[in-house]
Symmetry: C2
Subunit: 457 residues, 2 copies
Amino acid sequence: MADIAALLSEVVGPANVITGEAMPDDYGHDEALTVAPRLPEAVVRPQSAQEVSRVIRVAAELGVPLTARGSGTGLSGACVPRPGGVVVSFERMNRIAEIDTANHVAVVQPGVTLENLDAATAAHGLVYPVFPGESSASLGGNVATNAGGMRAVKYGVTRHQVLGVEAVLGTGEVIRCGGKFVKATTGYDLTQLIVGSEGTLALVTEAILRLYPRRPHAATVLAPYATLDGATAAVPEVVASGIGPLIVEYIDLVTMGALVANSGMDLGVAPAVKERTVAYLVIVLEDRRADRLDEDVEELAVMLSERGALDVYVLPSHSGAQLIEAREKAFWAAKAAGANDIIDMVVPRASIPGYMAEVGALASRSGSLVVGCGHAGDGNVHLSVFQGDPTTRDALIHDIFAAGMALGGAISGEHGIGTEKKRYVAELEDPAKLALMRRIKDAFDPHGVLNPGTIFD
Amino acid sequence: MADIAALLSEVVGPANVITGEAMPDDYGHDEALTVAPRLPEAVVRPQSAQEVSRVIRVAAELGVPLTARGSGTGLSGACVPRPGGVVVSFERMNRIAEIDTANHVAVVQPGVTLENLDAATAAHGLVYPVFPGESSASLGGNVATNAGGMRAVKYGVTRHQVLGVEAVLGTGEVIRCGGKFVKATTGYDLTQLIVGSEGTLALVTEAILRLYPRRPHAATVLAPYATLDGATAAVPEVVASGIGPLIVEYIDLVTMGALVANSGMDLGVAPAVKERTVAYLVIVLEDRRADRLDEDVEELAVMLSERGALDVYVLPSHSGAQLIEAREKAFWAAKAAGANDIIDMVVPRASIPGYMAEVGALASRSGSLVVGCGHAGDGNVHLSVFQGDPTTRDALIHDIFAAGMALGGAISGEHGIGTEKKRYVAELEDPAKLALMRRIKDAFDPHGVLNPGTIFD
C-alpha cells in the first residue's frame, strides 16, 4: 500500500493523497443508516480528467478498487470504500465551468454542490430543478445515483437533466458523450447509461446539465385526509388536470408529527380537523405569473375539497417554505426518531394506496412499525422501518420490496442500491438482467476497479 | 436458406414466413434517399416475445443476421436487411395492450402505429407527444431510432417517453426493464440504452410510454425575417421567456417555397414583406385554457416584433394546421425537388446561426445547394443536399458533420445512423467510444445476429 500512495502522489502531488492517521473519518461512510464505516487505504484528490485517468490506470495496474466520493450524502453506502481500496474524492473538482444562458445549460465539475449551482443559476433567472433535499450534495453524486427529490413530478430526475458527460472509463480512457442538446440518435446513449450507475461504469469528470426559467411565484397547498388512501387516490386526478404541479407529496400522520416536532412549525390545521387526519397531501404550484398561480390554486383547492379532503389550506409563504424544508429533512427526522432503515420503493403512482395497505399488513405481521412520506406524483414511497432485530427487519424489507415488484415497481426510486440494498436486488431481480449488467460493467471496466461490489457482487 | 425458412416456419407457422417470389418489394428498403434496396432471404412475422425469442435462437444457431422492421418509414437504411439476412417484421404485433389513465401510460406492441395510438389516447383526453412527421410510423421503429419531431422542444423525444420495455436480447433471453414510473435507480438503465440503438442490441416486444393531458387550445405564429440569423437568433429568448412553446421551427426561403407549392396553402404574408423574407420562424403555443393562450400569443408577437421580425402573423387555425402538416411533409417536398440526400445534424441551439453560415460557405465552395428547415428550439437542423456527384456530396456531408461536431454537436438528432451515415461516424467519432459501443453490443448480442453493420461495422 505504500506503493499505491507513492504512485498516486506522482499523479496528484503528495498534498492530495491522504493516508493513515491524517485521514478524517468522513471518508469511511455516507449517510446510510445501516452501513458499517470503513476507512480506505488512501484518499486521492484529483483536479482534472487527466489526473483521474492516471489514477485509474495506477489502480488497474495494482488491482486496487477505487470508490468515487462527492459530498458523502448518499443513503445506500455506495461511496464506502472496498477493503484495501482507495477513495477518489472530487472535492477539488468543484468548478462551475459555465452557465450558458443562450442554451440553458450549466457545465459543472462533479464536486460542485447543489447549493452553489443554485446560487449561480439564480443570478441568471434560471434553475437546475433537482432538489433531492440535501443541498450540500455534489452534482457528481447526484449523477451517480440519479438523484430525485420532490420536484421530479414536474421536471423529472437527474437523468432528465444530464445532457452530456465527460467521463473516465475503467480503462483510463476519457470520453465525452452527449452535448448541449436534448436529442441525438448517434450511437448508444452512453450518457444515460452512466447516469445512475453509482460509480461502477465510469467516473464523471464533467456534466452538462439542463436549466429552466426560474418561476418567481409559488404556493403551497396542504390537504388533510381521513385515510392514506384518500390522500394518494386524489393524485392521479391532480396530475390529469393539467395544472402541472411542481410538488405532490403525501405525509402520513406519524411522519407529519415528527416533522412538526423537529421544526417547530405551526401549519394552522384546525384541531377538529387534525383529530380526524391520518395523512396529508402537500401540493406546490409554481408559475411565471402571479395571477395564473392564484387561479390554479383556487382550481386545485376546489378539486381537493370535492374529492375527500377534510379541509384545504393555502399556506402563507413562510409556512409553506417551512413545510417543504421540513419534508426535505424527513430523513433526519426518521433518523432522530430511531428508524433502523429507510427505503424508497417506487411503484406506479396509482398503485400507492394498495401498496401501502400491503406494507401496513406486512409491518404489523412482523411486529414492526413502518411509516413514511413520499413523492406521491411519482409513486416513490419513502418508508422508515422501525425493527431492531436485523433478521426480522431483513425479511420484512425483502417482503416490502417483493410486494412492490409484484406491482411492477423497482427497489429504489432515487437513493440507489449501493452496498446496502444489493442483497435484495440479487434475490429479487431477473438473473438474466443481472448477468447483462455484469457484461456491461465489463465493457466499461474490464479490470473491475470502479466501485466493485456496488449494485451487485 | 431452405433450412432457415423451415425452422422459422416451425416457430411462427408457414403463413408467417415469406420467401422468394411472394415477397413484396417493401421489405427491401426504407425511405432513405441513398439506400440500395435489398430483399431478405425471408421475412418472419412473429406475434409474441416468445416467438421473437425462438426466432433469435434459430438465427444465432445458423449465424443468420436479423433486421427488425416496423413500418419501414425510417430515413437511415436501418431496416434494410443484410445480405442473406432475415427481416423480422412486427406487423402482427400491433396491439395497444393498455391505455392506463390513472398512471398516464400506454402499453403498446412495437407494430402499433402513431396514428392508432393517437386515436386511442385522444379518446381519453391524453396524448403521446411524439410527432415525427409520419403518422404511419410504428412505435417499435420510433423506439429504435429515438424518433423526435417538432414537439420535442416542449415534451422531449421518444427517449423521454419510454418508461420501460420488454425486449429480447441476442441470446434469446426476454427481459423487462423500467415500468410505469418516471424514476428508478435500481441498476443500469437498460431501457434508455435500448432506445435509439436501432435494433442492434435487442428487439423490443412491448413498450411502456408516457402520456400527457391533451391541451385543447393551440395557436400558430408565423414570423418572417430578412436573414436566417435573425430568425434563429430569436429562439433562445422565446425559450427563456417561460412561455413554453410546443413547436419552434425555422424554415428557409427555398424550403418554404417548396412547402407552399406542394400544399397549395396561402399563409397571407403581404407581398412587400415576402419580398424581403429570407427565413421564417414558426411557433406553436398550446394551453389548457383559451384565455391564457391568447395572452401568451400576444406576448410572443410583441417579443418577436421587437426583436427583428419583419411582421408577425397569428395564423387562422386552418392555415396553422396546413403549415404544420406541410412542415411535417418537408422530407417529401425535398425528395420531390430532387434532393440527393438529407441530414439532420444537431448542434447547441444558440449555435444554429453560426453553423448555418458555415454550412452555406461549405455548400457554395463545393458548388452544391444545401437548404432546409429545422427544429430551432432543439438545435436540430434538417438539410437537403442537392449535389449529384457522389464523391463531391460525400466530402461535403463529411465537412458539414465535422463543422457541427466542432460546435459540440452530433451527426443525427433523430433519424439515426443506420447504414447510410455510418461511414461518417467511423470517420468522425472518438474511436474509444466506438470500441466501447462494440463491447456493449457484444454484451447484448454475443452472436452478432441483431442488425449487424448498423451504426458501425
